[in-house]
């Protein structure tokens, strides 16, 4: 992999200065991405908890990820998946969450930076929302995006990767039943005449309500000061989304079954440990993949919250956060540390890989993996040091022909800003800008990775 030399243009500088409003006034030569037929069509961003034990996540010679203890082994498990997906995986080493490190948003807060390329003070949308809303990738789908999580629904710093323009965290759906309702329930009608009549009336009433709310919002917007416009534009966008969902129907796609809620009778948030983590995660992944393939949305994110007390692996202590991630002792690239602590963290990482591999498999089975850009990152490199340098990144899917998997790419120990990955992502969708995110130094947000 080579790094493209940064070309700093006016747009780049303005973005780096946080001049979103000025950028909006620049003429856009880009058609809505929904109208494009070539290149990548789907984006999926995933947050992985706890960093990854570098001693066990990096492939060995010949892209061997099946060696004893390798946390990426699930991608090559043909017995479980039907075939190996090792050739769909690019292991990217050497990314730093630079804008966050420089803007006091690292460690447990670092997830803020993963898809935004900005620190806590950033005003730009995360790449998923940028593509879906600002670049129109979600313009003609019933949902512009799906923002999912497991284990923690709070839109708190450190618990989100999706951010709206203006820098506000978006809430996550953590209950698979709600995910199903949002994505499919209104679209599954059947032929019952009573249900059809009820739906038709609800659509009619819904349109009337939308007109009313839109007028009301328009009056408010006319009085609102400039500094509150982002907020009202987000509200307008939400009304458009609501309108789309009223008139949508499934064409040529079989919806998934309604999630069996008896499999997750109680949902809990981070600290208490999500007791049905595995069931919920599987359902969220399956619904996410189905939503993409059914054309419900083209953009989705998934936040896998802290795995503490999820009891997913009897060989690990209950408190994975403290007793595994905090006890990880590694010398990093220099080597050294406590091998037992590597193995423990790698076991936990192995679990996360099984979930990502499941997602890749589902996208493949549904025939959309080649058009999907899938990126999965953690907020920390060495989790016991809470450092957001050298964070693990996994890239999968075909990226519309731009990504060749089965490779391990090392960007080096100096640390490459994750903004460059985000620039590459937007370019895979045809957005020919050379920058993404906000940082004091334009060089942080500028440049792409050649994949």
């Amino acid at each position: 992999m080579t790094l493209r030399s940064p070309r700093i243009d006016r747009r780049t500088v303005l973005t780096a200065l946080g001049a979103g409003a000025i950028l909006d006034m620049l003429p856009s030569e880009v058609r809505p991405l929904s109208a494009q037929t070539a290149g990548a069509r789907y984006f999926v961003g995933v947050y992985m908890p706890h960093g990854m034990a570098r001693e066990y996540w990096l492939p060995h010679e010949g892209f061997d990820i099946g060696y004893d203890g390798c946390s990426l082994a699930p991608f090559a498990d043909a017995n479980a998946l039907g075939k190996s997906y090792a050739d769909q995986l690019l292991v990217l080493e050497g990314l730093d969450l630079t804008a966050g490190i420089e803007g006091a948003t690292s460690g447990h807060d670092g997830s803020r930076v993963i898809l935004t390329g900005s620190a806590q003070s950033g005003q730009n949308a995360s790449i998923d929302q940028f593509l879906a809303i600002e670049r129109g990738l979600g313009q003609d789908t019933p949902l512009a995006s799906l923002v999912l999580g497991v284990g923690n629904s709070a839109p708190d710093l450190g618990q989100c990767i999706s951010y709206a323009k203006g820098g506000v965290a978006l809430p996550k759906l953590v209950d698979p039943s709600q995910t199903f309702d949002q994505a499919f329930a209104r679209l599954v009608v059947g032929n019952d005449p009573v249900a059809l009549a009820k739906l038709e009336r609800e659509r009619k009433l819904g349109k009337s309500l939308l007109d009313y709310w839109r007028d009301d919002l328009g009056r408010l917007k006319a009085r609102a000061p400039q500094n509150e416009r982002d907020k009202l534009e987000q509200h307008e966008s939400a009304l458009r989304e609501l309108e789309k969902s009223l008139g949508s129907k499934l064409d040529g796609c079989t919806p998934p079954p309604t999630p069996d809620a008896s499999g997750f009778p109680r949902l809990a948030s981070y600290g208490g440990g999500e007791p049905y983590f595995d069931t919920v995660t599987n359902l969220q992944i399956d619904l996410l993949a189905q939503a993409l393939s059914c054309g419900i949305t083209r953009v989705a994110t998934l936040f896998l919250a802290d795995l503490s007390r999820t009891h997913l692996d009897p060989a690990l202590p209950d408190d994975v956060h403290i007793d595994v991630a905090h006890r990880y002792t590694s010398g990093g690239r220099a080597g050294g540390g406590n091998p037992q602590s590597w193995q423990q963290l790698a076991r936990q990482n192995h679990y996360t890989s099984t979930k990502l591999a499941r997602l890749v498999q589902r996208l493949d089975q549904l025939g959309i993996l080649d058009q999907t850009v899938l990126i999965a990152l953690s907020d920390m490199g060495d989790p016991s040091r809470h450092t957001s340098r050298q964070v693990p990144a996994l890239l999968a899917g075909g990226w519309g022909g731009r990504l060749r998997g089965g490779r391990h790419v090392d960007l080096g120990s100096a640390g490459t800003p994750n903004n460059r990955l985000l620039v590459s992502v937007q370019q895979a969708f045809g957005v020919e800008s050379e920058s993404f995110g906000e940082a004091k130094d334009p060089a942080v947000v500028t440049g792409s990775l050649e994949l």
């Binding site: 420089e102 948003t105 759906l173 009337s208 309500l209 009085r223 987000q234 966008s237 440990g273």
Partner: protein
């Protein structure tokens, strides 16, 4: 007026004023525009939306389980960062549809004629729409708004019933931007300043003090222009404080200020407290009881909150506090437990601790940032990578964190942080008293620069007593009141308000309610800077 606040405070508060109140908008010019907030739109918090829905349909509505959690600022759920994103809107629309469909024709918020009106009863329709819109908008609706709502009613009632029309009107109002946002946009300009309108004043006052939409008396006062007077706002605020909802709001302010709402999503290592999940609510309940008590007896005096000498301990916590269980709540003298005030309650100590050990840094940071409003840089801003002290069962937490003092780059910030944090070292990760750790006696000595004096501290009880009587705590409380009211950091306004509070009488300056009253009486509340 009947006053459930302590008589002395109530009378004192009613008579006090911070600065010359603005009897008329145009007559007042004491606060410069740079010391005023910007015009704003604040989306109501989930609790406020629940209150608005409850008042519209006349029954208790709780939207907490239906809507995404609040986006917060400084842990405050009154926040300008709240927005209406796609998911929130869809869930709000679904939840409020359910609320509206449960509407009974006998609801107290509907006119009596609605009980047996036919779908085409125009007179009853007009009555119903005016009544509901007034409640939803916190003001009288204008003709354009009434006309739009008539169209909504007719769509709902067409081919259906009068009630169906009413249900659709309620759904429209519950999703209306006019209801979802509290506006502070201003209605008239005086130089570089904007005066909030009558209805905005009523709405702001009611949400900030009463935790609910304006009632009839407040709307009357607004319609007669009375709320431009600081004294009248104070009088109305004192009236609103008699409502139970006001006490909930004040309680929420204290809990969010201290960051205690985080406790609900925290866990502890099973080696420390295997039953922690069952202790969280009792811990918060204990704190809320003491906060409520302080409201009733002193209007939330800082002295009582932070140097209080007793607590009401729920039975579930008796083991943790080392007292005999009686199966019921017990009023306990804190002196006997070796504790004092809110900072030595389990809720604070467990919130600001790690899962398996105490956390001098978190506790020190909580005191310095939350109670003294000091700004501490994050290590990343100074180019310092966070390195947690390695586990060492043979060392005390204090010994392990002593690394900070040895590393000069860390010491600058950590000396004040740890000087406070170490004073809590006699409390473990859940707030249980301990005298030793790793086989060694705990060392709770520390120090704090407070009101210009470097105070040596024997422990956090001494810290609490020093804080409770300090000017810095009172001034930080004033600053937090501004943040809560404004929904964001507003340094210039905070500074100006803090200056003004220095001339207040002590009961007012040193109590939460006194500070709220002083704020609503002043220009900071009633004016905005022209953009």
């Amino acid at each position: 007026m009947r006053c459930t606040l302590p008589l002395l405070l109530c009378c004192s508060l009613a008579a006090c004023s911070t600065s010359t109140p603005d009897e008329q908008p145009e007559a007042h010019a004491s606060t410069s525009a740079s010391q005023l907030l910007a015009p704003s739109l604040r989306r109501l918090s989930v609790a406020e939306l629940s209150a608005a829905a409850s008042s519209l349909v006349g029954t208790d509505v709780d939207l907490a389980s239906a809507l995404p959690a609040d986006a917060r600022q400084h842990d405050f759920s009154r926040s300008l960062t709240q927005s209406v994103d796609s998911l929130t809107l869809k869930q709000l629309v679904a939840a409020t549809r359910d609320v509206a469909e449960r509407l009974e024709p006998t609801s107290p918020t509907l006119p009596a004629c609605a009980r047996d009106a036919l779908a085409d009863d125009q007179a009853c329709q007009a009555q119903l729409i005016t009544s509901l819109a007034t409640e939803a908008f916190r003001r009288a609706p204008n003709e354009g708004e009434l006309s739009s709502l008539r169209a909504i009613f007719e769509t709902g009632a067409a081919g259906a019933s009068f009630r169906d029309g009413a249900v659709l009107v309620v759904r429209a109002l519950l999703g209306s931007p006019e209801l979802l946002y509290e506006t502070a946009l201003g209605s008239s300009t005086v130089g570089a300043r904007l005066s909030l309108g009558d209805d905005e004043l009523a709405s702001q006052l009611s949400w900030l003090i009463g935790g609910a939409p304006p009632d009839a008396e407040l709307r009357r006062a607004a319609s007669e222009g009375e709320l431009h007077s600081g004294r009248e706002r104070r009088r109305q605020a004192l009236r609103l404080l008699q409502n139970p909802a006001a006490r909930s709001l004040y309680r929420r302010f204290v809990e969010e200020w201290l960051g205690l709402t985080r406790l609900r999503s925290l866990a502890k290592a099973s080696s420390v407290a295997p039953d922690f999940a069952e202790l969280r609510e009792p811990m918060l309940h204990e704190t809320e009881t003491v906060i409520d008590d302080a409201f009733v007896s002193t209007g939330g005096a800082l002295q009582q909150l932070f140097a209080g000498s007793y607590s009401i301990v729920p039975s579930e916590l008796s083991n943790l506090y080392g007292i005999a269980a009686t199966g019921a709540e017990q009023r306990v003298s804190l002196g006997k437990l070796g504790r004092v005030g809110l900072l030595q309650q389990a809720s604070f100590l467990a919130t600001f601790a790690h899962e398996d050990e105490s956390a001098p840094v978190l506790r020190g940071k909580a005191v310095l940032e939350r109670l003294l409003c000091r700004q501490l840089p994050k290590p990343g801003e100074l180019g310092i990578e966070l390195v947690l002290p390695p586990p060492n069962p043979a060392a005390t937490t204090r010994e392990r964190f002593a690394l900070h003092a040895r590393e000069p780059r860390c010491a600058a910030c950590h000396d004040p942080l740890d000087g406070v944090g170490f004073t809590f070292e006699n409390f473990d990760a859940v707030g249980r008293l301990r005298s030793s750790e790793a086989g060694k006696p705990v060392d709770t000595t520390g120090h704090l620069l407070l009101d210009g004096q470097d105070l040596p501290l024997r422990d956090s009880a001494e810290l609490s007593l020093a804080l409770a009587g300090s000017q810095e705590l009172a001034e930080c409380a004033a600053r937090q009141v501004v943040r809560f009211a404004a929904g964001l950091d507003a340094t210039a306004v905070e500074d100006d308000f803090v200056r003004a509070t220095r001339s207040l009488a002590e009961p007012e300056r040193d109590s939460i309610i006194g500070l709220f009253l002083a704020f609503v009486e002043g220009d900071w509340f009633a004016w905005r800077a022209r953009p």
